[in-house]
Each structure stands twice: as structure tokens, then as C-alpha cells.
């Protein structure tokens, strides 16, 4: 039975007993993992799952199963569960029928990639660091999704993803490299491995530097971590409803050089053409020239705030709210070298690690640097420093006058929370508050 047939079968099983929304997703995912410069874990999986939401007179219940042999029982159980619930006063109703945009980010060859092809990318990465220890992964995945609801909505989409991500290590340092695309053929394991090896060599024998406020140049990966926090705790409309978002629509809250938007249609990004509720993707401007413009909405938050869904519902994510997953941080016109060259004394940060929110409203976050932190003096990198802990308001860091330069090197950058969601450039910021050395 194909996914359309499964979705229709579920709707038929529900019949007129309830409103229903069905999401049938499936595909394959494979990941080749290496450490100490050899492949040690190599995994793959395939399967399908059905997510069902039913509404009985405003009473909502959900179910997820990968057991196609018990769908009738699942449907009966979820309807029974809904009928015993209190009315969900915030239920926004089902999405109306509409056309889904074309699936723009799917590659047949990536969907069928072999373990040998992934191992080849790994081999290219590892070969760039002779005498060093390499660790990381190369993965490929293919997802196909069919959405249907009892209001008549029917849509399908598909997407692929491929990533190579890893580090090279010396006895005293590590350097990282990363690339993600929807085509495995676009990944250059040697180039990513070379960057990682270069960073590892350059950051060997690091020295301790005193904590305090430093001017910084952040790599695209470090900037993408900032963007994750702005999105999850700020753009997310549920955080606004809960009184915890920094965003005030129409106010100049960031430096005028900062623009952030979400755009599924850009070829540099990944993913499906609709969200978990069947709302088609569209471009959404969250910040324009530093002015807060729009929250990310799912149907529930949109109904509460008198807005329209922006197509940002997450599977099973009502408790979290809405999250943009095709995010772009606007690029500038300077090379990363230009940004470094304009710093008298500061730090270059390759990646942030283990960042956690301390206060959502002020966007105060603590975390550490990792895999290459460098001292900049008189416009040039003069050495490596040991990792540092920071405690910093991200909104303040990007505030008016604090963004001193933006790179022209935008790429699909891996925040510490996973690949494929954010295109970001390098950035030069006036101050970053480091509160301690990572190793005491």
C-alpha cells in the first residue's frame, strides 16, 4: 500500500466519527560514523509511520504508529480517547485544502546512496589529516510525506539530505569542518576534512587567555547557533504568547545590518514544501534591517494571535510552538579575512558548544567555544587559545551598533543542534562576554 492509500484508509476508518488529520511519512536514513580515523559504527533504517490527529466535538487526541497491521485498532482507540477529553478551547481547526508547492530539495541518487559512497566521503575527509585523529560522520536520508485531512486537504512532498561533519584532532587541539546539501554529490569530503585539519593544526598548543569582554569574529557555524536561539525562543509565536519572547513587532531591536528570514524556495536550503499541519511553506521575514517583523506561527498560535499560520508547525511539536527550519541570516560584502583584518584585539570562534538558555526573554545564553578558538591581534590570527565559557545576551550581541561587519561567505551551517536548518555568514561583533576558561 502506498502512502496515499494508507492515508485514505485511515480517513475511511475514522469516517464521520471525527475530524481527522493524517500524516504518513517514511523513507530511509543511513549514517556512517568514524572515530580514531576509522569507521566504527555504520547504520541504516527504513520504515513508515502514521501520525493521526482526531477531533471529536472539539476534543482532540493524537496517535503515532508504525504498525500498519493494527491501524483499525489505533483509530478506534484514539477516537475513544478524544471523546473522554475536555473540549480543547484553543483548537484552531483543520487546514483547508490547498496546493502544496513543488518539492525542490530531492535527489534520487542521494535517496539511493550506498554505504560505499558514504565511506568514500569519509575516506576523503580522513585523508586530509595524516598523523591526526579524525572523527565524525557522513549521512544520507530520504523522506516522503503524504498529508490528508477530513476537510479535503491532500498533499505530498519529498526531500533528501546529506551531511559530512567531523573533526581532526592533535594531542592538544581539534578543528571542525561541515557541509550539508540535499545532494550527496555536492559534498566534498576532502575540502571539509582539509578545513578541519587546518583548524586543528593551527589551534594546537593553545594557551589560556583571561576571561572578559572580547571583540569576536564568529564563523557561520557559530552565527547559526545564535540564530537557533533567536528562532526557538524569540521568533516562535508560542514564546510570545507565553510572555517570554524578546520580539516586539515593528521595533528596531537588532542592528540595522541584521536581516533574518525563512525561505523554503531558496535552492541552498533543505526540507519539505509544507509543515506538519499541511500549511504550505512561504517566505517569512522575521527581522528586516534590525526591525522585528514577524513571528513563526503554527495554526494554534496564529489563531491565538489573530494571524495566519506561516507554515512552521513541527511534527508533534505543539508544546514547543512553531519553528522556522529554512532560516537565512543575511550576508554582507566582506570576506572572513576582511573581518579578521579589521580587529585590533579579539577572538575568532569556530563553533559554540553546549549552549543553553538562562533567560528566554533577554536571550541570555551560556555555552562554550569548541574546535578552534583563536586570538586575533592587529588584524591577524596570532595563536590559539583554550576553550572559553561565555554568558551572553544574544539580542544584546546583535544590538544596534554592535555588529561591526558581516561576511560574504554564507553557507548551510551546522549549529550545535543539527544540520540543514540555517544559512549564515561570518560576523564581527563588538563584544562577547567570556566568563571563564573551559579547563580552569
Amino acid at each position: 500500500m502506498n502512502k496515499h492509500d494508507i492515508a485514505q484508509r485511515v480517513l475511511d476508518l475514522v469516517g464521520d466519527r471525527a475530524e481527522a488529520e493524517v500524516r504518513v511519512s517514511g523513507g530511509s536514513a543511513s549514517l556512517t560514523r568514524f572515530a580514531n580515523s576509522f569507521i566504527h559504527q555504520n547504520v541504516g533504517e527504513e520504515g513508515e509511520s502514521v501520525s493521526l490527529k482526531v477531533v471529536v466535538d472539539g476534543r482532540v487526541s493524537t496517535a503515532i504508529t508504525n504498525r500498519m497491521d493494527t491501524l483499525d485498532q489505533v483509530v478506534d482507540d484514539v477516537i475513544e480517547a478524544a471523546s473522554h477529553q475536555p473540549v480543547d478551547e484553543d483548537w484552531p481547526g483543520l487546514a483547508a485544502p490547498t496546493e502544496a508547492p513543488e518539492s525542490l530539495h530531492f535527489d534520487e541518487a542521494t535517496a539511493g546512496a550506498s554505504p560505499q559512497e558514504r565511506a568514500s566521503v569519509v575516506s576523503d575527509f580522513v585523508a586530509q589529516g595524516p598523523g591526526m585523529r579524525a572523527a565524525g560522520y557522513c549521512d544520507t536520508s530520504a523522506t516522503e510525506v503524504v498529508m490528508a485531512n477530513s476537510a479535503g486537504l491532500r498533499m505530498e512532498g519529498r526531500a533528501t539530505s546529506a551531511t559530512v561533519d567531523g573533526i581532526h584532532q592533535t594531542d592538544t587541539s581539534a578543528g571542525s569542518g561541515h557541509a550539508t546539501a540535499y545532494r550527496l554529490a555536492d559534498l566534498d569530503g576532502a575540502a571539509v576534512g582539509s578545513l578541519a585539519a587546518h583548524r586543528a593544526q593551527r589551534s594546537s598548543e593553545p594557551y589560556d587567555t583571561k576571561p572578559g569582554d572580547y571583540e569576536v569574529v564568529l564563523s557561520p557555524e557559530a552565527v547559526s547557533t545564535i540564530a537557533v536561539f533567536l528562532a526557538v525562543y524569540g521568533f516562535n509565536a508560542k514564546m510570545k504568547i507565553d510572555g517570554q519572547s524578546f520580539m516586539n513587532i515593528g521595533e528596531q531591536q537588532l542592528d540595522e545590518s541584521i536581516s533574518i528570514w525563512d525561505d523554503y524556495f531558496d535552492p541552498k536550503t533543505l526540507g519539505l514544501p509544507f509543515d506538519a499541519e499541511g500549511t504550505p511553506k512561504r517566505r517569512v521575514d522575521h527581522v528586516e534591517a534590525g526591525v522585528s517583523r514577524s513571528h513563526a506561527h503554527d495554526r494554534r498560535t496564529a489563531a491565538k494571535m489573530g494571524a495566519e499560520s506561516t507554515g512552521h508547525a513541527l511534527p508533534g511539536g505543539a508544546g514547543w510552538g512553531a519553528m522556522p527550519t529554512n532560516l537565512f541570516v543575511g550576508g554582507g560584502d566582506q570576506s572572513e579575512q576582511d573581518l579578521i583584518a579589521s580587529v585590533d584585539r579579539g577572538l575568532y570562534v569556530s563553533t559554540f558548544n553546549y549552549c543553553r538558555i538562562l533567560d528566554p526573554k533577554s536571550q541570555v545564553v551560556t555555552g562554550l567555544t569548541r574546535n578552534g578558538t583563536f586570538m586575533i591581534e592587529n588584524g591577524a590570527i596570532t595563536g590559539a587559545v583554550t576553550n572559553l565559557r561565555f554568558t551572553q545576551s544574544f539580542v544584546q550581541a546583535l544590538g544596534a551598533g554592535n555588529v561591526l561587519g558581516i561576511g560574504n561567505d554564507s553557507r548551510l551551517a551546522d549549529s550545535e543542534f543539527g544540520p540543514g536548518m540555517i544559512v549564515a555568514p561570518s560576523m564581527r561583533l563588538a563584544a562577547w562576554h567570556f566568563t571563564g576558561g573551559a579547563e580552569g
Binding site: G44, A82, P86
Partner: protein, 479 residues
């Protein structure tokens, strides 16, 4: 189900695997979430499938499918072996395995009240009720409550002859209140942040007396908005049990994972500040520090009968009177390191490769009490309930924030403080442990959201802890 697992193992061996094992897993989870008396979600998820791993040379190959037929299981075994063989493109040293007893056995989590048999209406009424109590406190903007229950059956077969069935039952939940001012938000949770989870049935929910604590929790959230900021400086620090549980999880539990020590997790989760050659001599903390990894503790979240390699659950000494003496390990990592197998390998569902996981990594109880510790403290902060956590990739530099704190002056609990944080370096911090409670204050805290591995796996771990005191700790770190 054993037959499917057997077919998968046979498929892997026929395709060249030196060793293979397979798990059929049938899992059910129920979750209920309520916000401000409105039921946001009542959901059930079910999954069934088989995961088979095959060892060839230096690499594991693993393949999972939801198709539970003899043919699909056999094909999964064949595919797992083919994936392992492809690893030879970037090969390393041969991966050895420690011997473990070959057993045929079954295990079931001790539980009194099947959580899936308790009426949904009773669960919903409980959560709606506690959010109403919290909402009735002026100043509370958001009151949320949740329950989650897990019922997992696993059938394990290995090419060496293991046949083990396990039925694991887990229950947990909790609630929190959030108050918001123009400048910031403050949250209080009960029994701990993200809820308290244990192995067992619905009796684990009843014992925490949700309704009795809701008003206090809500009032504290509101009071925090007007509390003074946590002072900055070096002070005596008293940690409430659940916060100490997370401190153990992050600064001990992950650091003693042998796969991290061996570099197998270097790129993502990280490595460890611990070096194997210092096992048995490295000073981890003060003489009050006695840590065990004990998968046999009744009711604790990391308890089971056998791990997902068929190794029996056991208690392993990790830190004895402040000295590091043990690790968390599986059959492969322990063989590489020349140590006995620890039985600490578990996978998340049927479709994830089993890996080294914390069981119940806990700090053995002391002979004091929170009241005695406070009475004996001259200038300190008492911090409770985790709000944020961050630690570096070697598990050395940490910074934690808690939901609430109180000054302790001259043996008395003083004023409430907001945004309490503390930071430290692992062995230095544990070296200052100087008072430790026990008795009824020693609790099997559960962490249901431990992330590790690629693809990501979520693990359920336990951390027994009682309130404890540390000295000369840097508190009040601000941005």
C-alpha cells in the same frame, strides 16, 4: 518474536558477520500535556520493529526495519552485514568482544499498577486540577503539567545463544508554573524540572502528591520576580537532591562512559577529562564521594534485567572515597580497554544501534540531613531544581542555573534569590564536597531526556542523590 530475531542473526552470519545480535522491540508510550487547564495533547505512540547488528572487522553494521516477517528480518541481517563490510574502506583495528554468560531468561519491571490501565480521565483530571491550583495564584501566567508512560517489550537473540525477553515499565511526569515580568520570566517545577521519571507503574505518580505542592510551587514562581538577584562570589553551596542528580549526570556520568574515554564519541558528544591509565588512582573528589552505577536498584529509571547486549544488570563501583575506580562499558569497549564488561549498553527503540549508556549513576547517601547541613553553614546559597545546564566536551567546565535559591547565613535559611547559577571545574568542585545528607532525602532521581549518539538517541537514566554541600564555589555568574 524470538524467531524473527533468530532469522535476522542467521541472515547476518550467512552474509559474513563474525558476531550478530538482534532485538525485536514493541513499544508503547502515552503522553498527556495540559496548559492552563486546557488539554494540549493526549497522545499514544506505538512502534514495532527489529534492529540487527553485525560485527565485521573494526566496525559494527546495523540495520532496522519495521517489517516483522521472517523474510524481512533475514534481509535486515544480510543488510547489516553488508553495511559493516562497507566500513572496510576506512578500516581500523579488529573490534574485540568480552565474553559474557550466555543466558535464556526473562525480566519484568516490578510494578503495582499498570499505568496504561488507569483511566485517562483520572490522569487528565489530575493535571487539569494542578494547573488550576497554580493558575489561581495571582501572577502565574502559564501553568503546565504532563504525564508520560512507557511500556516496552524486547526480545534479544545473539549468535552466541542468548534468548532474553524483557518487559520494561516506566512512569513519570510533573508540572511547572511560570510568572513573567517586563524584564524576565521565572519558573518553578515539581517534583523536578522536566518531571520525575522512574521504573514502575502508576504508583510512582501517586506517591509524589502532585496537588499538595502546586500552590507552593506557583507562589514561589511569583515571588521570584521580586527576589534579589543571586549574589556573585565564592560561597558554600548546598544543592537540593534533583539538582545534585543532574550534576552527577553531567560531570560524572558522561565522563566515565568508556566510549567517550576511547574517543568513539569525540566529534559530537565529546571525550572525557579522564585517562584510563589513571583508573584506580585519579582523585575525583573528596572522601565523601562514593559513586556507583547500579542497574539493579528497584524503581530507579536506569534499572533493567539485562542490557541490550545480553549482559546481566550489575552494580559497579565508579568512585570510592573520592578515587576513580570504574567506568561505564559494553562488550566491545571493555575488551578494547582490558576491563570487565559493565552491562551498560542500550539502544533507543528498535532502530538505534545500542551504545554505552548510564544506568543509575548515583552518589551514595551520607549520614546528615538538609536541616543539619543548613544549620552548619555560615555563608552559603541553597539552590534547588535545575533551570539550565552546560558543560564542555571533556566534562570539565560546567555552569548550572537553578530555578530558585535561598541565602544561608549563620545556620539559617534566609531570603529567596532569583537566577541562581554556579560554575566550576569537575574534580576541583567534587573535591570540596564536605556534607552529605541521606535517609529519606536520598531519592532515585530520573533523567528521561539524555541525548547521545548519531543518529541521536534519547536515553533514560537514574541518579540517586541527597542534598549535599560544597565549599568555595563561584556563584552568581551573569551575562
Amino acid at each position: 518474536m524470538f524467531d524473527y530475531a533468530q532469522a535476522a542473526v542467521e541472515g547476518a552470519l550467512a552474509a559474513g558477520a563474525e558476531y550478530a545480535d538482534a532485538r525485536v522491540v514493541v513499544a508503547k508510550e502515552q503522553g498527556i500535556e495540559v496548559e492552563n487547564q486546557n488539554v494540549d495533547d493526549v497522545g499514544v505512540s506505538e512502534s514495532a520493529g527489529i534492529g540487527v547488528r553485525a560485527l565485521i572487522g573494526s566496525s559494527w553494521g546495523f540495520y532496522a526495519t519495521a517489517d516483522l516477517t521472517d523474510k524481512a528480518a533475514r534481509n535486515a541481517g544480510t543488510t547489516a552485514a553488508a553495511i559493516a563490510a562497507a566500513s572496510s574502506v576506512v578500516a581500523g583495528p579488529h573490534m574485540p568482544l568480552q565474553d559474557v554468560p550466555v543466558v535464556t531468561d526473562s525480566y519484568e519491571t516490578p510494578h503495582e499498577e499498570d499505568p496504561f490501565s488507569v483511566a485517562l480521565s483520572e490522569k487528565v483530571d489530575l493535571l487539569v486540577g494542578v494547573t488550576k491550583i497554580m493558575q489561581d495564584v495571582p501572577g502565574v501566567l502559564i501553568a503546565t503539567a504532563s504525564l508520560r508512560f512507557f511500556d516496552t517489550n524486547k526480545w534479544f537473540v545473539s549468535s552466541q545463544g542468548h534468548r532474553i525477553h524483557q518487559h520494561i515499565v516506566e512512569s513519570g511526569g510533573g508540572y511547572d508554573a511560570t510568572a513573567v515580568s517586563d524584564a524576565e520570566s521565572q519558573r518553578r517545577s515539581y517534583p523536578q524540572s522536566f518531571g520525575q521519571y522512574e521504573t514502575g507503574g502508576y504508583e510512582k505518580i501517586r506517591k509524589w502528591n502532585y496537588a499538595e505542592n502546586a500552590q507552593r510551587i506557583a507562589e514561589e514562581a511569583v515571588q521570584l520576580l521580586d527576589a534579589d538577584q543571586c549574589p556573585e562570589g565564592e560561597k558554600q553551596l548546598i544543592l537540593e537532591g534533583s539538582q545534585l542528580g543532574l550534576q552527577i549526570h553531567e560531570s560524572v556520568g558522561h565522563a566515565i562512559e568508556l566510549d567517550r574515554i576511547l574517543g568513539w564519541e569525540a566529534a559530537f558528544a565529546g571525550t572525557s577529562h579522564l585517562e584510563l591509565e589513571k583508573l584506580g588512582t585519579h582523585k575525583y573528589g573528596s572522601e565523601l564521594m562514593n559513586i556507583t552505577a547500579d542497574a539493579t536498584l528497584p524503581g530507579a529509571l536506569g534499572s533493567f534485567g539485562y542490557d541490550d547486549e545480553g549482559t546481566p544488570a550489575q552494580r559497579v563501583d565508579i568512585v570510592t572515597e573520592g578515587t576513580w575506580v570504574g567506568v561505564l562499558s559494553g562488550r566491545d569497549s571493555s575488551a578494547v580497554a582490558g576491563l570487565p564488561p559493565g552491562g551498560m549498553v542500550r539502544g533507543d527503540g528498535f532502530n538505534r544501534l545500542p551504545m554505552v549508556r548510564m544506568t543509575n549513576v548515583g552518589l551514595l547517601a551520607g549520614d546528615s540531613s538538609l536541616a543539619e547541613i543548613i544549620a552548619d553553614t555560615k555563608d552559603g546559597i541553597y539552590m534547588s531544581t535545575n533551570r539550565s545546564w552546560s558543560i564542555d566536551d571533556k566534562r570539565l567546565n560546567f555552569q548550572f542555573g537553578t530555578e530558585i535559591g535561598w541565602e544561608v547565613k549563620d545556620g539559617k535559611l534566609g531570603k529567596m534569590v532569583r537566577n541562581p547559577t554556579y560554575t566550576g571545574i569537575t574534580p576541583k568542585f567534587w573535591g570540596t564536597l564536605d556534607r552529605l545528607a541521606g535517609g529519606d532525602e536520598w531519592v532515585h532521581w530520573g533523567t528521561p531526556n539524555c541525548g547521545k549518539g548519531q543518529p541521536m538517541q534519547v536515553g533514560h537514566t537514574g541518579h540517586s542523590a541527597a542534598p549535599a554541600r560544597f565549599s568555595n564555589v563561584r556563584v552568581g555568574v551573569t551575562g
